[in-house]
Amino acid sequence: MTTPAPPKLPLRFFRWYCHPKLRDSIEGDLMELYAERRVKSAKWKADLQFAWDVILLFRKGIIKPTEGYQNLNNYGMLKSYFKIGWRNILKTKGYSLINIGGLALGMAAVMLIILYVKDELAYDSFHQKAPEIYRVVTDWKRPDGSVQHQDGITGYYQGPKFKESIPEIVTAVRWMGNNRTLRINNEVSDISVYNADENFFTLFTFPFVAGNPAEALKDPNSLVITEAKALLYFNSTDVLGKTLDLKADSTFVPYKITGVVKTLPANSSIKFDFVSRLTISPQDYANSENWFNFFLTTFVELHPAASRSTVEAKMAKVYESDAAAAIKEMEEKYNVTEKAVFSLQPLKDIHLSKTYTASSGLFDASDPMYGYMLSGIAFFILLIACINFVNLSIANSLRRSKEIGVRKVVGGNKFTLAIQFLSESFVICFFAFVAAVFLVQLSLPLFNTLAQKSISILSLFDGRMLLAYAGLFVATGLFAGFYPSLVLSGFNPVKTLYGRFRFSGKQYTLRALVVLQFALASFLIMATLTIYSQFNFLTTKDLGYDDKNLVVVNKSNLTRDQFSIFQQMLAGHSGIIGIAPKNGGEWNTVAKVSGEKMIKFQYNIVDESYLPLLKIPVVRGRNFSSDFTADGPSSVLVNEAFVKQAGWDDPIGQKVNFWYRNAEYTVVGVVKNHNYNALNYEIQPQLFTKKPDENFGCALIKLSGQDTQASLALIEKTFKSAFPDYAYTYEFVSENNRRHYEQEARWNKIVMSAAAITIFISCIGLLGLAALAAERRNKEIGVRKVLGASAFSITKGLSVGFLQMVILSFVIAVPAAAMVSSQWLKGYAYRVEFSVWTVVITVMVTTSIALITVCSQGIRAALANPVKSLRSE
């Protein structure tokens, strides 16, 4: 008699829900009953009864518990997984080291980036009122509504006027920097003193060591200083009531110290050493043009319940009604048609804002781009390390194929095996994680210099960071272990145990991953080379003037008489070739040419000695001359860019109309274009005048280059005797020019280290793969040798496949690098092109490193005694 088969669906349902321990016996009962019923009654009836029984069995006690019914056993199994994992690490020490080292580097890179990003995002959030503080920012809009200019700068009026008429604004604080001269024991030095409204220290959280934040800025001549400065000047922080002398016009005025502030947090956009009260004379405040003078930063505190957009709308109304007269006046007087639109920017957004950057008394403006780039690089490194893990695990799995086979035969299924390999990857990841923490500690100082941060080791261990790292650990373990566990658990036990197991197919995944690795590494090498050559270009390009041995000495309000005295005092010294005056800083203004055409240009006050000293040629017309009696205040020189923009065919004798001061100047010469600015920018129009009624701001001194120290000492001595009340500072123009490219220098180092790390990790991965390949082909090599193959041909046979992958990676990396590099280079007005040499060098470097790596294994295999490999089995 054959057993009648019960209906499948209820049976399957039963098998699914039933507790495995009960399953067989109950199922047997059901079967027996079913068989009996089939004899007695119709099939449908028996089926129905069977189904009914199954449904009635669906109850507590029979259904298997959801949390798993073998808790104790699972624990033991997991323990064994970790034990086996540990033994495997010890057994294959080399590969484990590659894996752990690579993953540790990758994880350390990601950890550093997490720290970096956290630091960037936490900027300015230490202020207790941070969520309520906003900066008033300005959009300048043309009459057609398009935006002409956006920045975070405001003037005297915005703060107080908005606060006056908008109830949602709780406080408004203005903040501006000033260069002041400080005198201590007859020594003068230049310092930056910030002027702030009285309630600055109640709005912002800067803890005081001494003094009362609410009262500190009450008095106009009060001064709040930092701990560091207090220690520097008084050797103590107990300095309340002591005074510091600051220069006002021509006399020194004592300022009373009313507060000492703790060292400022590194991640603050507001940075200061000295703060004094902002005082504005009633005449200054009454000036109707104040709505159009923008030079300071205004912060407002909104009521917590206030909506930003409502306040912004109210601000627009206040501006329109209050500034109406000023707007009209500006239009009539200066032809200014742009209008200001004010909005609010949250304090915490300032640091990373690209539209309204941290400027005008605020520091550390950062581009979120850097965060993205660093994250990208860190991700690259981790990815490459994970690829190593994947490749090595799969290549190494041949050694473990028997283990997998046996596990499957004794009942391990695909899932449990996958769990086993995953847990092994977690073991490796754990060691890598521990190593990574140490790596981060070691490399943090270097990273801080490169990224211009001051992240402390302690911030590694804050609660949320630990959570992030735990996440990183789990993600890496899963990411690295997932694919190998899938492949390894899928092995066919019969094949592996029979001993004929070979990887079927051509291992496309494995190869693709190696190609990807090397593509990433060579991409970074090309990026390094591009940044390096651009940096090199920027720092060595002929600027159109000679900045060699050129020193600039600042002195505000340097009158013509003072300059000639200074000149005479320095004259005749062998170390000094020449001296020329110039205005301090950079002045920009507008004027009309050829009738109504407006030109924006840089306005320079110089004399006839300036151009020859800097070796800037005059291409048409002539330089200013002391002989020319005609050289009155109305003669000016312009540069070629000016001529081009003015559209003049014959520039000499053309008029430049400064209508707002009722002056008209005549062009007497054209100066050759030179890069007075960083090379990121095109050369803009320039105008040179020697108007006698405007003072200079600095003196440029050309040194001979011999015995520079003595010359500098002489200049210092001369300056101090000529201007005892002024602080002496000097700067080499060439150093100053180089400083424009600090960013590039930094990025060059960052990308270079990243490239070095990626190529290193890729190569140790390749080394492992090559070693495994050689081992796998052990017998083949032995047979080949016996039959007379040379070491060279065997090495070639082992290496060619890997080199193909490396070469294939260039096909991906070169176009990507070319695209990204030229995009980056577009940010420079003067730039190198992405050159073929970059590609050639990269290909050569990468290929040779890979070749050395692979061949080292190939040669070792080729030189081994074939007897050894053939003897076994």
Binding site: T3, L22, D24, G28, E32, W52, R59, G61
Partner: protein, 113 residues
């Protein structure tokens, strides 16, 4: 005296297991109850009761042979444990005590009613 918990159906199942002695497994218990008490018993109810009794320690089980009509699934035989026997005895003696305490008159009246 310790408190033994035994439901009515559980008691029936235990007694049946005792009746069947070495032959008590799912289907035979079910059939025995159905024929002796003329009530239908679902496999679910029976199995739950058996599991519960085994958990309480009143019954113990052993795997038996697999027959053809069970498509190779083993039988699970049940027998009463010492504890189970004591519980049954306890239940029986308490019942008996109750029976004996009923005045004859009351019983007669009820019977005749």
């Amino acid at each position: 005296m310790k408190h033994y918990q035994l439901g009515e159906f559980e008691e029936v199942v235990m007694l049946t297991v005792g009746v069947l002695y070495n032959e008590a497994y799912g289907v035979s218990i079910k059939k025995e109850i159905e024929s002796r008490l003329s009530r239908s018993v679902s496999v679910g109810a029976l199995q739950t009761a058996l599991i519960r009794l085994e958990d309480k320690g009143y019954l113990k089980s052993r795997e038996g042979e697999a027959t053809e009509e069970r498509a190779g699934r083993p039988k699970k035989y049940f027998e009463i444990t010492a504890l189970g026997a004591r519980v049954l005895d306890h239940v029986r003696s308490t019942r008996e005590e109750l029976w004996n305490s009923i005045p004859k008159v009351a019983l007669k009246l009820i019977m005749t009613n």
